[in-house]
Each structure stands twice: as C-alpha cells, then as structure tokens.
C-alpha cells in the first residue's frame, strides 16, 4: 500500500537520526580512547610495540568498513554468540575509528617540532611527562580540524550499519521510501538531517580553533 509521506514520517526520520548520533558518539568515544592507546603504542620508543600498532592500523585501514561490520555481526554467530546489531555496530565502528584516529593523532604528535622533545628531555622529563605536559597539549590544537573532519565522515559512514539491521537515519529512509515510494522527497529529508548534524560540527571546530589560537 503506497501512501504520501506525512509529518509523522519526518518525525520518524528525526527519531532515527538519534540512533545515527548515538552510534557516532559511541564509536567516537570508544574509538577515541582506544585510538589514544594505539597512538601511544605507535610513538613509544619500543619497536615491537610500534609494529603491533602499525599492524592494527594497516589491518583496519586496509579492509572495507562494510567487511568489518559483517565480520562482527556474523563472526560472532559462527561461534554461537548472537550479538545485537547495536553491539556489532558499536564494536566495529569503535575499532574502525581507533585506527583512523590513532593515525591522525600520530601525525599531530609528529607535527610538534623535535626540538620540543629535546628541550623537555634536557630538563629531565621522562617520556610520559614529555607527552603529557609538552607534546600532547601542542598536538591537541593541531588535531582539532582533522579530528572533526573524521567525525563528520563517521556520522555519514554510520549509514553502513543499516546492512546488519541497525535502524538509523539511512535505514529509516529506506523503510519510509518503501512505504511511500517517494525516494526523492524522503532522501532529500535524510540528506538535510545529515547536514543538520555535520554542519554544526564543522562550525564548532572552527570556533574551538579560533579560541585556542587566541587564548594560548
């Protein structure tokens, strides 16, 4: 039965956008924390640990996100565990984000001049102290634009979670299109909703950057 899209459909889409936001937030927090760890493993002066981190980053960056989602969703099933789309998507996106954020942040750490490492070493600071008090605060400023850039990508990429039955904005769009057969209108609204999420993020990034540049 085909019907016209109505206000209720729009409300459902907005409601689904919450799950897009929730999945993004989960992936960003989970991926941020583990990405910080991977980044540290990447820069610590110990070769075997560096290799471990590099291996991880390459494995994640070298495989499609879609494949990672399937591995999590169906992989567990093979071993007799049923995982909900939430768990599978949350885990897959967190690991995906961890590799990309680690690599972005490593770049930011390496963008801090070597002389800052030397000057702090010369004052007797150890590796952890150098990172914490000298390197990371400087890398943080450099990191804001690329991190937000990645976050915006992440928002859009969560649409892939629809393939394992996770109902977020894009999946809800598909459902609504199925009922109304008005793909142009429905996906137009979907696109606007994505924009309403992503645009403020970029603006926030700009403002944060400006603030940090002025206030040291």
């Amino acid at each position: 039965m085909i019907r016209e899209p109505n206000a209720l459909d729009v409300l459902y889409l907005i409601a689904a956008a919450r799950w897009t936001l929730a999945l993004t937030a989960l992936a960003f927090v989970g991926g941020g924390l583990s990405g910080l760890l991977v980044m540290l493993m990447r820069v610590v002066p110990a070769r075997p640990i560096n290799w471990l981190a590099i291996g991880w980053i390459q494995a994640i960056q070298g495989t499609p996100l879609l494949a990672q989602l399937f591995v999590f969703f169906f992989g567990f099933a093979i071993f007799g565990y049923r995982v909900s789309p939430w768990v599978a998507a949350g885990a897959a996106f967190s690991l995906y984000a961890s590799a990309f954020l680690a690599e972005i942040w490593r770049g930011c750490v390496e963008a801090v001049p070597r002389t800052q490492w030397e000057a702090s070493a010369a004052l007797g600071l150890g590796f952890g102290q150098q990172l914490r008090y000298v390197i990371v605060p400087q890398a943080f400023r450099i990191a804001i634009p690329p991190t937000v850039g990645f976050l915006v990508q992440l928002v859009k990429n969560t649409s892939l979670a629809s393939v394992i039955g996770f109902v977020e904005l894009t999946r809800e769009g598909q459902i609504t299109t199925g009922a109304t057969f008005r793909p142009f209108t429905v996906y137009g609204i979907v696109a606007i909703l994505y924009f309403c999420i992503c645009f403020p993020l970029s603006q926030l990034s700009r403002r944060l950057e400006r603030k940090l540049n002025v206030a040291h």
Partner: protein, 243 residues
C-alpha cells in the same frame, strides 16, 4: 676532580664520523668556549655530554656519572646539566612562569607555590622579572633566550651547556644575552659554550677549544689561544670569523 671528562669519545652518524676520539676535561668553575667551523662537531659534543646523543666509543663522565653507561638514569643526569639551544625552544603553550615551573614541579615534585617563587628568582637573575606572566610569542628573541636560560637555571644545574645561543638573534639583542652569561660566569657557574662571539671567548672564557673535523684541534687559555694560534687551521678560522 673534573666536572666533565671526555675520554677518546667517538660519535658517528652512519658512516660519518662526527666526533673522532675527542678527549677533554672541564674543571668546576671553568668557562670553556668551543669554537670551530660549521659541521665540526661542536653541537654534537654538547649533546653527547647530556646524553641527547649516544656515542659509539669512549667514555663521558659528568661528576660521578658515566653518561654512556646504559644503566645511567639520564633524567637524573639532566637535572644537573642544563643546556640552552640556539632556537630557545620555549614551550609555546605555557606562560613564562609555567615554562620555568614545569621541570621543578614535575621532575622534582616541588609545590607550585614554591616553584613560582623559584621562577621569580631565576627571572630576576636574567633581568626579566616583569615578564613572568607573558607567553613566549610576546617576547623578543633575546628575551626568549633569557627565559630559556632561567628555565635551565631553575633546576640548579652544576653545569650549563650553551649551543650558539646568540646566533639566531638580531645584533642589537646579542648584548643582553651575553650580559647574562657574564653574570653567570662571575657567580662561578661552570659553563661550556659554543660561540662565534670571539670577544666573549677572549674576555670571559677561561679556556678555548677549537674543533676541526670532529677533533679537538687546539685548546688553551682564551687570550693566548686566540692571540697566537699554533695551527694553520685555527689561524685561517680566526681569519674568516674576524673579517
């Protein structure tokens, strides 16, 4: 007992030998000016002394610490050996006070209030008391370099290394930094400084070391060594810097 002792120190970067069996000792209170052409290994020698660069052969002893012993805690050593670089290397995200307070609070666990007093004290010694709450990018090059010296002094080092600390400065700013060095010299600080300021080497240094091709080519009392070079290499070097 010597404060610094280098015995047959050899340092290579890959196939390039940068320090070639360098032997040298510095006594407490000595002010050693290290001169030589660019690339002769002056900076590398200073960096080896506080363990920023590993060496391939020989021995470096600072006080009673063998720097090149793998068991040596370099962080302990560096609390006793200050180094100031040509490019100041202040921490741009921290105020002058916090630049100075960082190592005392983090490394020596000094309470912040005490560290702040210490910052005031060392800033006064370099004549920058009023800049305590400024940020590095609000200071001139000369002022930044004086803060870098103060930051190093705050760790109460037994010995200070200075690597061409006036070379990046506009000529009119060099004097204020040299004045700080002179006052440190009067207070009896043991110093080793790489410099192109021949006037300073002649008048303030107790000894001059001329490096050439990774070797200590010539050394002796400042005035004498600069006044009557014994090797043609030093003579030609002096000719090139004085004219």
């Amino acid at each position: 007992m010597s404060l610094i002792k280098l015995e047959q120190v050899t340092k290579r970067f890959g196939a390039l030998t940068v320090l070639d069996q360098v032997s040298l000792s510095v006594e407490p209170g000595d002010i050693v000016a290290v001169i030589g052409r660019s690339g002769s290994g002056k900076s590398t020698m200073l960096r080896c002394i506080n363990g920023l660069e590993p060496i391939q052969a020989g021995r470096i002893v600072v006080g009673d610490t063998v720097v090149n012993d793998p068991a040596t805690d370099l962080r302990k050593l560096r609390q006793q050996v200050g180094i100031v670089f040509q490019s100041y290397n202040l921490f741009p995200h921290l105020s002058v006070a916090r630049n100075i307070m960082l190592a005392p609070t983090v490394v020596k666990k000094m309470p912040p209030v005490e560290a702040r007093r210490l910052a005031e004290e060392v800033l006064a010694r370099v004549g920058l008391g009023e800049k305590i709450d400024a940020y590095p990018d609000q200071l001139s090059g000369g002022q930044q370099q004086r803060v870098a010296i103060a930051r190093s002094l705050a760790m109460h080092p037994k010995l200070m290394l200075f690597d061409e600390i006036t070379s990046a400065l506009d000529p009119e700013l060099i004097g204020e930094v040299l004045k700080v060095l002179e006052s440190l010299a009067r207070q009896g600080m043991t110093m080793m400084l790489v410099t192109h300021e021949m006037g300073f080497a002649r008048n303030v240094a107790s000894r001059v070391v001329f490096m050439h091709q990774g070797k200590v080519w010539e050394e002796g009392p400042g005035r004498e060594t600069l006044g009557r070079p014994r090797t043609p290499e030093l003579e030609s070097f002096l000719g090139s810097v004085l004219h």
